[in-house]
């Protein structure tokens, strides 16, 4: 009896090993395509850059696909690489990725290390509230209310510094903030409006939230390119074409439209150029 049990256990273990071995070797299937472009994006940002199974969706992903097409790469020639915020400059510098489309704000500090194509969108820090909320009309109306953001992030610090009367609940991810907002324990959620729209556009939350629509900062989303690369100007040309033929409006509407998001008209459409080199 004992022996049989061990044998079954051994067989199960062997089967498990064989299965995991099969799953791990997708990297070698590149085959004939010699020309590939490695694009870095977020894998966990609904509406902007999200990986579900092998499928990539989101605003940043669609912009990246359109730009890559203008540069001469079909969809199957794109290799998607996850680029978390703190690692973006390092990844470009090391050549792990060729381009980064990942809610990447153009700042002077970052321009010391990398160059930027774009901007392709001017986002701004905004508030997300429940759809039936009429009280919160801007950051000034937040005194005594509970606001949610990600701990240690720039938007959280900005609120804590400029609006000390706000009660700030922080989490590791915006998803937990959205849960708390839906449950009614926090009254608003803050970060860049495009990111907020991505969460509000998720099917699970359809119609439950709205953007306040009064951005109180300016974030120029650019395409990260390694210093010295000639790709930067090519990206700008591609982006300008996308703006001119109306594809950009369609990409925004497709991904962030369900949240009734339109880029701030005072600062959009963005004018690509001026951040290369």
């Amino acid at each position: 009896m004992r022996k049989t049990t061990y044998r079954i256990a051994a067989a199960v273990a062997a089967a498990a090993l064989a299965l995991t071995a099969c799953g791990g070797d997708s990297g070698s299937s590149a085959g004939g395509d010699s020309k590939k472009i490695k694009i870095g994006t977020k894998f966990d940002q609904p509406g902007l850059g999200l990986k579900e199974g092998d499928n990539m969706t989101g605003f940043d992903v669609d912009v990246a696909k359109a730009v890559a097409k203008k540069l001469g790469y079909e969809e199957n020639q794109i290799e998607w690489v996850e680029s978390p915020s703190p690692q973006r400059e390092t990844m470009l510098d090391a050549g792990t990725v060729d381009l980064i489309f990942a809610t990447y704000s153009i700042t002077d500090k970052r321009k010391e290390k990398v160059q930027f194509g774009g901007p392709y969108l001017v986002a701004g820090q905004d508030l997300l509230v429940r759809a039936d909320d009429t009280e919160i009309t801007g950051p000034d109306a937040l005194t005594g209310k509970v606001l949610c953001s990600v701990s240690g992030s720039t938007p959280a610090e900005k609120i804590a510094k400029e609006y000390p009367g706000v009660q700030l609940q922080e989490y590791d991810t915006y998803s937990l903030c959205v849960e708390a907002l839906a449950a009614g324990q926090v009254q608003a959620l803050t970060t860049d409006d495009a990111i907020l729209a991505g969460y509000a556009a998720q099917e699970k939350w359809a119609g439950q939230f709205k953007l306040v629509g009064k951005p109180f900062s300016e974030e120029l989303y650019g395409v990260g390119v390694k210093k010295g690369s000639d790709l930067c100007e090519k990206v700008n040309t591609a982006l300008t074409e996308l703006f001119d033929d109306g594809s950009m409006d369609k990409i925004v509407a497709d991904n962030l439209g369900p949240a009734n998001y339109t880029p701030n008209p005072a600062t959009n459409p963005a004018k690509p150029g001026g951040h290369c080199g």
Partner: protein, 226 residues
């Protein structure tokens, strides 16, 4: 570096870490002792419940317990551990949820440390207590537990050191303490990355090293001579 420490209120964060450690340890000791008594008691249901608690909690990642404490108690059940009208509502609420999560998790380790302490007591002691006519509560409070605590000082000290370092996990629900300050400092001063890591490491050494020394000394001083 010095102005960064001041700008991000590092010392206030250290005080919060100490507060989390102190209250977390206190509640963990209380809850862990209750669990140990349950596991030692002659009542089957209590033994089973104590063992189930230890097995489940000890094998659950602390991050999950911390997030669950916030998500279940505060977000979903809407139970406030602080006054919603107070100007420090979210700060106090987060702190108390953090203490709760840390205490719940480490109670399992305190319980097992105490049971290890009980195992240092010769079986004859419990038998002698029973033959003197002592009831279970009497033998527990007058014979078993006093000796168990004295025998468990070293493993309890280890649990305390682990608890101190584990308080950093409550950053997941936004409680301001050392790891929260570290995250903010790194976000805005990436150029000081290594200095900041060094500072945090030194802070924890400064807190936990004396703990190790004191428990080592106490374990010797109060060891039961047999």
């Amino acid at each position: 570096m010095l102005e960064t420490i001041q700008e991000y209120d590092y010392w206030a964060a250290v005080v919060n870490t100490l507060e989390l450690t102190l209250w977390g340890a206190l509640w963990a000791l209380v809850l862990g002792t209750v669990l140990a008594i349950m596991r030692l008691s002659p009542v089957r249901v209590l033994q089973w419940a104590g063992a189930a608690y230890v097995t489940i909690v000890r094998n659950t990642p602390l991050t999950m317990i911390v997030v669950a404490a916030n998500l279940i108690i505060w977000t979903q059940l809407k139970i406030n551990l602080a006054d919603p009208q107070s100007s420090t509502y979210i700060v106090d609420n987060g702190m108390r949820l953090g203490i709760l999560a840390v205490a719940v998790y480490h109670a399992a380790f305190v319980c097992e440390a105490l049971r290890a302490g009980v195992n240092t007591i010769p079986l004859g002691q419990a038998e002698a207590a029973r033959s003197l006519g002592m009831t279970f509560p009497q033998s527990l409070t007058q014979v078993i537990l006093p000796q168990a605590f004295r025998g468990a000082i070293t493993p309890l000290g280890n649990a305390l050191i682990a608890l101190t370092k584990n308080t950093t996990v409550v950053v997941a629900i936004g409680v301001a303490q050392v790891s929260h300050a570290m995250r903010r400092m790194i976000e805005f001063r990436p150029d000081l990355l290594f200095q900041i890591f060094g500072l945090v490491a030194l802070t924890f050494v400064a807190i936990t090293l004396p703990m190790g020394l004191v428990t080592g000394w106490a374990a010797k001083k109060w060891a039961v001579q047999r």
